[in-house]
C-alpha cells in the first residue's frame, strides 16, 4: 500500500495536496484497493461549495457505492472530468491521474499525516 510522504489524509481515506489556497483531493491507494474496480464517478459542478466533512460526490465500484467527503471546505475550481470516461484511473493512479477535484479553500485544514493515516489503515485490518 502506498502512502506518499508529501500528502495529507483523512480517516475517510481521501488524500489532500495543498498548494497555496488550492487543495487537490483524491482517494488513497488503500481506498481504491478496498473498493475494487471503479466503474463510475459522480463529480461536483465547478463553482459548487462544500463544508469540510460534507459529501461532494461518489465513487462506485462494481459492487459498492462510496461517498466522497470534503477534507476541507471550499469552492470547486476544477473537477477531473476525464474520470467520467475513464474511472479506472482511480485504480491505476490514485495519487496522480486519478485525482478527483480541486477546491479553493481558506480553511486551516485539520488533516492526518502519512504516519497517522497508516495507523488508521492498520487499525481497520
Amino acid at each position: 500500500m502506498s502512502v506518499p510522504e508529501d500528502l495529507q489524509y483523512t480517516k475517510s481515506h481521501e488524500w489532500v495536496r495543498t498548494e497555496g489556497d488550492t487543495a487537490t483531493i483524491g482517494i488513497t491507494d488503500h481506498a481504491q484497493d478496498e473498493l475494487g474496480d471503479v466503474v463510475f464517478v459522480e463529480l461536483p459542478d465547478e463553482g459548487a461549495t462544500f463544508d469540510a466533512g460534507e459529501s461532494f460526490g461518489t465513487v462506485e465500484s462494481v459492487k459498492a457505492v462510496s461517498d466522497l467527503y470534503a477534507p476541507v471546505g471550499g469552492e470547486v475550481v476544477e473537477a477531473n472530468s476525464s474520470l467520467e470516461d475513464a474511472p479506472e484511473k482511480i485504480n491505476e493512479d490514485p495519487y496522480g491521474e486519478g485525482w478527483i477535484v480541486k477546491l479553493r479553500t481558506s480553511d486551516e485544514p485539520d488533516l492526518l499525516s502519512p504516519e497517522e493515516y497508516e495507523k488508521v489503515v492498520e487499525g481497520e485490518s
Partner: protein, 361 residues
C-alpha cells in the same frame, strides 16, 4: 485473521493462499474477489472460471414418499424429471410468495435439493413441517458437501482430461455420478453465469485437490462478486433481490419453473393460478440506464411524479459496458421510466431479458 463466528468452506485455505478478499456471506467467510471482479467476469465469459459455492445447502429427500413430498413442496413437476436430470424450481408459501429457488436433482432412489445458503434453515424447517404426514426423510447434508462451479466456454475442455465421464454426452441440466481427479463426484451441466459449464458436488475432504487441479489446468478463480454480475447479465434471479416472500415466481419472471397444471397440488398453486388468471400485481423487467448513473438494489423506479417500482439488482455490466438492472414494477408501466439515484431521477428504458446470451455452437 478469521472473523469470529463465521463458518469456512473446505477451500478456505486455498482462498487465503490465492489472496482473495473475504467477506461475510450467509454466515460464511467467502471470497468476493481474487484478482478483480471485472477480470474474473471476463475470464468466465471468454475462458473458464472456478467458483467455490460450497456454502450452498444440500437436502436429500429419501423414502417411499420422497417424490410426493417434493411434488407438494416445489412448483415444478418433478414427475417429469428422469433419473440423472435436474430442474430449476421455486418453493412457495400458500399465498404464492417465494420461500426459495432451488435445483432438484433426481437420483437413483432419492432426490438432491440444492438450496440457497441464506435460506438453508428456513427451507429445511419448511420442508419438514409440510411433509410430516408422509413417509420421507429430509436430511440436511450441507456440511458434508463441497460444491465447485466451473463455468465458461473452456470449462468442458479443462474438465475432460480429469474425468472418465463423457462430457460431450452430458446435456444441460443433466448430471452423472462419476469421478473427477480420481475422487467421487456428482458432475452436473448447470450453472449460474449464462455460460456452458459444470457444477461439481464432492466431499469437503476431496475438494482442495480438485480445486487445485482445475486451477492448474487453467481455470481462473472467481468470487461471489463476478458470480453476481454474471448471473445478472444472464437475467437470472437472486433470492433476496428478485425473489422473496412478497414476490411470486410468476412476478419474478420464472414461470418456466412453475407447472401450474401439475396434477398433484403444490403449496401456493391456488394463489398462483389465481394470479395467472387475474393478472400479475407486479412484474420483473430488465432495463438499461440512458442517463449517467448506476442503479442499485432498493432504488425507486418512477414515471413522472409517481413511484412505479423498485430496483432489485443493478450494476455496470462488464460485458456490455453499460449500466443495467432488474426491477419489479407495476404491470402497466411504460418502456421508459426513471431510476432515482441519490434523489436524482435518471432516465432508463426497459430492454428484453437476458442482457447477455452466449453464442451456441
Amino acid at each position: 485473521m478469521a472473523k469470529e463466528g463465521l463458518r469456512h468452506t473446505s477451500l478456505y485455505d486455498e482462498h487465503k493462499n490465492l489472496g482473495a478478499r473475504l467477506v461475510d456471506f450467509a454466515g460464511y467467510e467467502m471470497p468476493v474477489q481474487y484478482s478483480g471482479i471485472q477480470a474474473e467476469h471476463k475470464a468466465v465469459r471468454n475462458h473458464a472460471g472456478l467458483f467455490d459455492v460450497s456454502h450452498m445447502g444440500e437436502a436429500i429427500f429419501r423414502g417411499p414418499d420422497a417424490e410426493s413430498a417434493l411434488q407438494r413442496l416445489v412448483t415444478r413437476d418433478v414427475g417429469r424429471l428422469d433419473v440423472g436430470q435436474a430442474g430449476y424450481s421455486a418453493v412457495c408459501y400458500e399465498d404464492g410468495g417465494t420461500v426459495d429457488d432451488v435445483i432438484v436433482y433426481r437420483r437413483e432412489g432419492d432426490f438432491l435439493v440444492v438450496v440457497n445458503a441464506s435460506n438453508r434453515e428456513k427451507d429445511l424447517e419448511h420442508f419438514r413441517e409440510n411433509t410430516q404426514d408422509l413417509d420421507v426423510e429430509v436430511a440436511d447434508e450441507s456440511d458434508d458437501w463441497a460444491l465447485l462451479a466451473l463455468q465458461g466456454p473452456e470449462a468442458a475442455g479443462l474438465l475432460e482430461p480429469l474425468t472418465d465421464t463423457d462430457l460431450s454426452g452430458l446435456k444441460p441440466f443433466r448430471f452423472v455420478e462419476g469421478e473427477v481427479d480420481d475422487v467421487p463426484a456428482l458432475i452436473s451441466r448447470t450453472g449460474y453465469t449464462g455460460e456452458d459449464g459444470f457444477e461439481i458436488y464432492l466431499s469437503g475432504g476431496d475438494a482442495p485437490r480438485v480445486w487445485r487441479a482445475l486451477v492448474e489446468a487453467g481455470a481462473t478463480p472467481a468470487g461471489l462478486g463476478a458470480r453476481d454480475t454474471l448471473r445478472l447479465e444472464a437475467g437470472m434471479c437472486l433470492y433476496g433481490n428478485e425473489l422473496d416472500a412478497e414476490t411470486t415466481p410468476l412476478e419474478a419472471g420464472i414461470s418456466f419453473a412453475v407447472h401450474l397444471d401439475k396434477e398433484q397440488r403444490f403449496i401456493g398453486q391456488r394463489a398462483l393460478l389465481l394470479e395467472d388468471t387475474q393478472g400479475l400485481r407486479k412484474k420483473l423487467v430488465g432495463f438499461e440506464m440512458e442517463g449517467r448513473g448506476i442503479a442499485r438494489h432498493g432504488h425507486h423506479v418512477t414515471s413522472g411524479a409517481e413511484i412505479v417500482g423498485e430496483v432489485t439488482s443493478g450494476t455496470k455490466s462488464p460485458t456490455l459496458d453499460r449500466a443495467i438492472g432488474l426491477a419489479l414494477v407495476d404491470p402497466g408501466v411504460e418502456d421508459r421510466f426513471e431510476i432515482v439515484i441519490r434523489d436524482n431521477p435518471v432516465p432508463a428504458k426497459s430492454v428484453p431479458l437476458p442482457f447477455y446470451k452466449r453464442d451456441r455452437e
